[in-house]
């Protein structure tokens, strides 16, 4: 998840594009660049067995680039604040809606890195770029824990990061 036009907010879509070009997943795995889906996230997660959300994180608690994970209990324990418009990121709200409907995924994990710059047209900051490999490692780790087979492609294509040609394209 994230807006590719707003600096570090592009982390989620960028990681998804990298995963797509460098790895082969089992058919039951879906990779999606959801942009900033707000409440439509409910449709994407409800009824799935497991969901890994990749997002940029906004907090001053730790330095930019720190990789954090939030599990289902962390996300559900957050009370959704009063919303004025449909854009407010709604991860907790969508999970609560899925829970009320009785089809919340068994496994939910949000993996992200703390962002530094959310300005229009800016590339990923050095700090977040430096965290990309860790985020990908955490995603692969969670997939392994879930028993999903992942294979590295013999030759990796260039990731289609059309919004920023200068983005790096390799995973070490």
């Amino acid at each position: 998840m994230g807006n590719v036009l707003l600096g570090d907010d592009a982390l989620g879509p960028y990681v998804v594009h990298l995963l797509e070009t460098q790895f082969t997943f089992e058919e039951r795995v879906q990779l999606e660049d959801l942009g900033t889906p707000a409440l439509d996230l409910t449709h994407r997660i409800a009824g799935q067995h497991a969901v890994i959300l990749i997002d940029c994180i906004s907090t001053q608690e730790y330095p930019a680039g720190t990789v954090l994970e939030y599990d289902k209990d962390d996300l559900l324990s957050a009370l959704p604040p009063q919303r004025l418009d449909p854009h407010s990121p709604a991860v907790s709200e969508c999970l609560l809606a899925a829970e009320m409907l009785g089809n919340i995924p068994e496994n939910v994990l949000l993996i992200g890195a703390i962002g530094e710059c959310f300005e229009p047209g800016e590339p990923l900051s050095e700090a977040v770029r430096g965290a990309v490999d860790k985020v990908i490692g955490a995603v692969l780790g969670e997939l392994w824990r879930l028993g999903v087979r992942v294979e590295r492609k013999p030759s990796s294509a260039k990731a289609d990061t059309w919004w920023a040609e200068e983005l790096c394209t390799t995973i070490s």
Binding site: G2, L53, L68, Y70, S77, H87, G112, W163
Partner: protein, 566 residues
């Protein structure tokens, strides 16, 4: 002594709508609407190929992706004087309709119904009585006692867990809540059902657009859908049939549930036909073109000044000469450099942030003006403009709404009562019914045209070397959207998007005139100023949307200690 109240969900993420009101004697005496986030995305487009602009513009916003893509290709087509084949018009229209139906359903049930519906009342309802009431209002087949009881049990389960979960942020038990337990239960049951139907509407967008969010099938000059009736991978009978089935279900939900619920809520809150009017200048652009040159439309446009419905002026084309000439943006109270109001083709977006100052600059939203005046945009504008021009489809559903409200609550509303908070909800439901009918019409138009053997979807654009200007409009779910492009040497020289919520959330202008949100809040009575539910009702009735979605996850207030650091 006036007391200032700020409603600011800034704890969620930097950059959203903030409302400040001054309250005197339990009524709003002054109001400010501001967006707390920098909107300078247009600058990214300068120097790029105009044929690619739509891919970027549909990332402006996470909810309204499609509308920014559409307005963008239309702006370039306008600049190049490029016609769009019939099939492409119909396919685009179907996408726009499906997107709008999704959006209107989400708005009512997920974003505003709980301003009127008191969840705490639901456990007290009698499902059998609620079912009898529902069946007297609508032929909808999913109003059975058992279905209602199942929904009631969901609320009871959440309540029994000791946490309100999804309902934790409402003003439950507020004295301004008036619905009976049975109507509360009905509305909540439909809130749950709405999740299914908004998803079906999105599936239509996904089938035609290849994916959603972020459709992939647009191109300047048409669409990229290959049409082949016998193919499963192209747009053929299989997919068209799937679309027809999905649309039929959404249409039924809109006409038998959403429309009826809005009429029922309106009938039970008649005072709200007198609250929340504000700016009574209205603006809408015609949309859903019926020919390749876009000279005829299924949705009417035009403008109304100062509530004078009989003086309505119509727009003949989507980029009517009057519209082209009359739009300016004022930045006296917005965080941008500049003194004079500028036409969007000459628009500048140079930031000048000062912090929130009531008498000076206080918002990142510019103040768009039409002939120098603030305008209200959105379904209400479109319905009033259509109704005043005698547009048959608008008249049909507006009259039906007025009759329904009278039948349920004995409230005899007139079109003039639509200048209100409830009027905006009613107009959105009226528009949704119109769109539902048009969805089926445009599906048939597409199928008939393909059946004639016309498979054309695209006219190739030719970029001139001299400077050209274009405006692309779309009557989006929240109102008039316009993208303004200047092209020189085959590159974008300037680009400005004047989005619906910029019109409605506009700050004051150099003359001190309030924007529509601000004006609509004046004189609103507040039962409990410390819980300003009434302010939310009016602001929500506009379906606010600050077109600058950023999605960084903000863990404020969460148990960060349990997060795992890698």
């Amino acid at each position: 002594m006036a007391k200032r109240i700020t409603i600011d969900p800034i704890t969620r993420i930097e950059g959203h709508l903030r409302i400040d009101v001054e309250v005197d004697n339990n009524a709003v005496s002054n109001a400010w609407a501001s967006c707390t986030m920098w909107r300078g995305i247009e600058k990214i487009l300068r120097g790029r190929d105009p044929r690619d602009a739509w891919l970027f513009t549909q990332r402006f916003c996470g909810v309204c992706t499609t509308v920014h893509a559409m307005a963008s290709v239309r702006s370039v087509e306008d600049a190049l004087k490029l016609e769009v084949p019939l099939n492409a018009q119909y396919i685009r229209n179907l996408i726009l309709i499906a997107h709008a139906l999704h959006d209107h359903i989400v708005h009512f049930y997920q974003l505003s119904a709980l301003d009127w519906v008191d969840v705490l009342q639901i456990p007290k309802a009698d499902p059998a009585a609620a079912s009898r009431l529902a069946e007297s209002l609508s032929p909808w087949t999913r109003n059975s006692k058992n279905e209602l009881k199942a929904a009631q049990d969901r609320v009871k389960a959440v309540a029994a867990s000791g946490q309100l979960g999804i309902f934790a942020n409402g003003y439950w038990g507020h004295p301004a809540m008036k619905l009976s337990p049975e109507i509360n239960l009905l509305a909540f049951t439909h809130y749950v059902q709405a999740l299914e139907y908004q998803r079906k509407a999105l599936q239509v967008v996904g089938i035609l657009g290849s994916k959603t969010p972020h459709i992939q099938n647009l191109t300047v000059g048409g669409v990229a859908n290959a049409i082949d009736l016998d193919s499963q991978s192209a747009l053929g009978m299989d997919k068209l049939e799937m679309i027809r089935t999905l649309l039929a279900e959404v249409v039924q939900f809109v006409q038998q549930v959403y429309f009826v619920d809005v009429c029922a809520v309106a009938a039970m809150y008649p005072d709200w036909f007198k609250i929340g009017s504000g700016v009574k200048n209205y603006l809408a652009v015609p949309d859903l073109p019926l020919d390749s040159r876009a000279t005829e439309f299924d949705l009417p446009g035009g403008y109304i000044r100062n509530a004078d419905l009989s003086g309505v002026k119509g727009f003949k084309t989507a980029a009517d000469p009057v519209f082209r000439q009359s739009v300016t943006e004022d930045v006296v109270h917005a965080y941008y450099q500049g003194e004079k109001p500028l036409h969007p083709w000459n628009g500048e977006t140079e930031p000048a942030f000062t912090g929130w100052e009531a008498e000076q600059k206080y918002s990142w939203v510019k103040a768009p003006r039409f002939n120098g005046e603030p305008m209200q945009v959105g379904p209400l504008a479109q319905v009033l403009i259509g109704y005043s021009q005698g547009h048959p489809l608008t008249k049909k559903y507006t009259d039906m709404a007025i009759e329904k409200v009278a039948a349920i609550g004995g409230v005899h509303a007139t079109p003039a009562a639509l200048h209100s908070t409830l009027g905006r909800h009613a107009a959105r439901a009226i528009r949704a019914c119109m769109l539902a009918e048009l969805a089926q019409k445009h599906w048939q138009l597409l199928v008939d045209n393909i059946s004639k053997g016309d498979y054309s979807v695209y006219n190739a654009p030719v970029l001139p070397s001299h400077e050209v200007q274009g405006v692309g409009t779309h009557e989006a779910p929240r109102g008039t959207l316009s993208h303004w492009v200047v092209i020189k040497d085959e590159k974008i020289k300037n680009y400005q998007a004047v989005v619906p919520s910029t019109w409605n959330a506009s700050p004051r202008d150099h003359a001190g005139a309030h924007g529509p949100y601000e004006a609509s809040l004046l004189h609103t009575p507040l039962a409990r100023p410390e819980e300003p539910l009434e302010v939310l009702r009016t602001v929500h009735s506009f379906d606010p949307c600050m077109a600058c979605a950023c999605h960084a996850f903000d863990p404020a207030g969460r148990k960060i200690a349990t997060a795992k650091i890698l």
